[in-house]
């Protein structure tokens, strides 16, 4: 029924007048590209002005040398990069930062997916309530929010208080000041990003497709694994990149909830810029972070390639 195409690119087929020589299809593609170019130019402009040029200045800074006297000395040295790349400590922090980002991402995904589903499927009143509840952590100043966590999770905090009162534990559990406290604290603020990304995709999931699966005898679990999950994959992708990026660039929450034991590349950068005022090293760290994140984002793009 289907014949093999005589030629795939079509241009080598004989008998065509030369006026049609540049393939129409290619021309159409070219026009589209121009259109895309124009659509993307305002945003590109903003990025160039607001991000690229300022960061180029920082890039230049990252080749300067630190000088306690004058903040930095103009130079063109790779010292800062050499230091960062040769010292396993920094690589270890990079690794830990990524691990933190991943942990928070999985946390929000697991906690957030069911509630997103609930939001997508419930009535308008419940929807408003749940959305507001999900959003509310974001509206509280982060220092205040962190205080709330410490009050809950501290050695003498509310939860340990209950546990001790009920005799469930003899000594307070070390709920605060560790990596997992940071994960929970960051998960708390980033949950809205995951949930709402998922909701926005779930909302446009056609219920017919789910009906089709039901009619074919699919269990709830299978509808989830084989239909809903793959069709909300784009939402998982959007949510996870937002959560991941938010987590690895947060520095107040890790600093406070980590009890000083959790460092991320961002906390290092912040301290280098404001406390030790070592801008060359701080700038180099920025670009290490950038490189690392670009890799993560490109991997992410590969994992969540946009096709249905």
């Amino acid at each position: 029924m289907v014949r093999e195409p005589t030629t795939v690119d079509g241009t080598t087929e004989g008998g065509q007048t030369s006026s049609e020589a540049p393939s129409l299809e290619a021309a159409a593609r070219g026009r589209t590209l121009w259109r895309r170019f124009f659509q993307l130019s305002p945003i590109a402009m903003l990025y160039i002005l607001g991000l690229v040029l300022p960061y180029l200045y920082l890039l230049r800074m990252s080749f300067n040398k630190y000088d306690a006297m004058f903040v930095f000395r103009e130079a063109f040295a790779l010292d800062n990069y050499a230091k960062l790349l040769s010292d396993t400590f920094y690589l270890q922090i990079v690794g830990e930062t990524i691990w933190l980002g991943l942990a928070v991402t999985f946390f929000t995904l697991i906690v957030g997916y069911p509630i997103a589903w609930q939001i997508a499927r419930c009535g308008p009143r419940m929807k408003s309530f749940l959305l507001a509840a999900v959003l509310s952590p974001l509206l509280i100043n982060l220092v205040v929010r962190t205080y709330g966590w410490l009050a809950l999770l501290g050695d003498n905090g509310i939860i340990n208080g209950w546990l001790l009162d009920w005799g469930l534990v003899g000594t307070p559990l070390p709920l605060s000041n560790n990596f997992w406290t940071v994960v929970v604290g960051l998960g708390h603020v980033t949950l809205p990003f995951m949930v709402l990304s998922l909701v926005s995709v779930m909302e446009s999931l056609s219920s017919q497709v789910i009906e089709a699966a039901e009619s074919l005898g699919a269990s709830v679990l299978r509808i989830f694994t084989d239909v809903v999950w793959p069709l909300t994959w784009a939402g998982v992708g959007a949510g996870s990149i937002l959560v991941f990026c938010f987590s690895i660039s947060a520095f107040v929450t890790p600093a406070l909830l980590g009890g000083g034991h959790v460092s991320t590349v961002s906390t290092l950068i912040y301290e280098q810029f404001t406390f030790s005022v070592n801008w060359p090293l701080g700038s180099a760290l920025v670009f290490v972070l950038l490189a690392m994140n670009m890799i993560v984002i490109l991997l992410h793009a590969r994992l969540f390639r946009q096709e249905v």
């Binding site: 029924m1 289907v2 056609s206 017919q208 497709v209 009906e211 089709a212 699966a213 039901e214 009619s215 074919l216 005898g217 699919a218 269990s219 299978r222 084989d226 239909v227 793959p230 069709l231 994959w233 249905v308």
Partner: protein
């Protein structure tokens, strides 16, 4: 494999009363065609049976068991959706395989059955295409294969062949019938193609405005529409308004107006001056040329392949006859004709 019994089914969409007391029963292994005008509730009925919408009143029994409380997946039915509802992220083969995976059919058997099902609908070489890479008709065939391959007890088919050309359609009809016979599955299918309904169905149900208008064998439906509306809907027939007259010699007849002479006697149970409706199929009408001006004027010829459909002005509407090309030549557009029909082929019904 199961009978289907529907009693006094009422469905509302918000304030809209979509099914208004549907009663329907289909025997085990029966093939029921559901026909009716657009928006009459066919899809709604199918979706009620499948369990996707929740009727407010009435009952649905499958194999004697009330299923209204069962989830769709517990009803063991296969459905072809009007808009296909293919899984967009799965290939054609994966779509077809899905239902078997749900039933934990072993992998090798799944592959076999998928291949056979896709071959059956002529899509063997499209197994790896995603739905959006398929044409409309190809998508519909994937939907059909997907519903059939699980060999359900009940098949609900919402215009399953609507996007197919005639040749393929007939091929698919044959396949469907073979399968249905082999499995003894009970099937309800919606179609707008009367030939299809006639050819495939054991029984035909005509729906109208959320109610069942008539249920019968194809022959019954075609030759003995129960109401003028059914007559009008199904046939390419003419539904004419007449009045019972006390004629000469004490005989009564039905007056159908000028130009229309069917020589109909008084139907039982009617009195003089009563309004009646006369149903006569277009192919049972003959148009005889007449010299005078009292006849009906022929206003159009429509070439339909086998036949010519000839319309003549009649009252404030038209009368329609299907003539052979030869006959049609005798009554060119503009000609004056008298319409005649055998009384035996006419059906007199109470007026609406």
């Amino acid at each position: 494999m199961s009978s289907l019994e529907i009693n006094n089914l009422h469905l509302w969409y918000g304030a809209f009363h979509a099914l208004r007391g549907v009663d329907l029963s289909i025997g085990e292994g029966d093939f029921l065609a559901l026909v009716g005008p657009s928006g009459c509730g066919k899809t709604s009925l199918l979706r009620s049976i499948a369990g996707f919408v929740h009727p407010r009143k009435g009952s649905i029994k499958i194999g004697g068991q009330d299923v209204l409380r069962l989830k769709p997946r517990e009803r063991n039915l296969g459905m072809v959706f009007q808009h296909f509802a293919l899984f967009p992220h799965m290939t054609a083969a994966e779509n077809v395989a899905f239902g078997m995976k749900c039933r934990a059919v072993p992998g090798s058997e799944i592959n076999d059955r998928v291949k056979r099902a896709l071959d059956m609908v002529g899509l063997g070489q499209f197994a790896d295409r995603k739905p959006r890479q398929l044409s409309g008709g190809q998508q519909q065939r994937v939907a059909l294969a997907r519903a059939l391959v699980i060999e359900p007890n009940i098949l609900l088919l919402d215009e399953p062949l609507g996007a197919l050309d005639k040749k393929l359609r007939i091929q698919m009809q044959t396949e469907l019938q073979l399968l249905q016979k082999r499995l003894g599955v009970t099937a309800v299918f919606v179609t707008h193609d009367q030939e299809e309904a006639m050819a495939m169905a054991d029984r035909i149900a005509i729906m109208r405005d959320g109610e069942l208008e008539q249920l019968g064998t194809p022959k019954e439906i075609f030759t003995a529409p129960r109401t003028p509306w059914a007559a009008e809907f199904i046939g390419s027939g003419n539904v004419l308004k007449g009045r019972v007259l006390a004629g000469e010699n004490g005989k009564t007849a039905i007056d159908l107006g000028a130009g229309c002479d069917f020589s109909l006697g008084q139907p039982p149970g009617t009195g003089a001056d009563e309004d009646v409706t006369v149903f006569v199929q277009a192919e049972d009408i003959r148009l005889e040329p007449t010299a005078g001006t009292e006849g009906l004027e022929v206003i159009s010829h429509r070439y339909l392949g086998l036949y010519v459909e000839v319309m003549a002005n009649y009252r404030d509407g038209v009368i329609k006859a299907l003539l052979s090309p030869g006959e049609a030549e005798g009554v060119a557009v503009g000609a004056r004709v008298i319409a005649r029909a055998d009384a035996a082929r006419c059906k007199v019904m109470e007026a609406r």
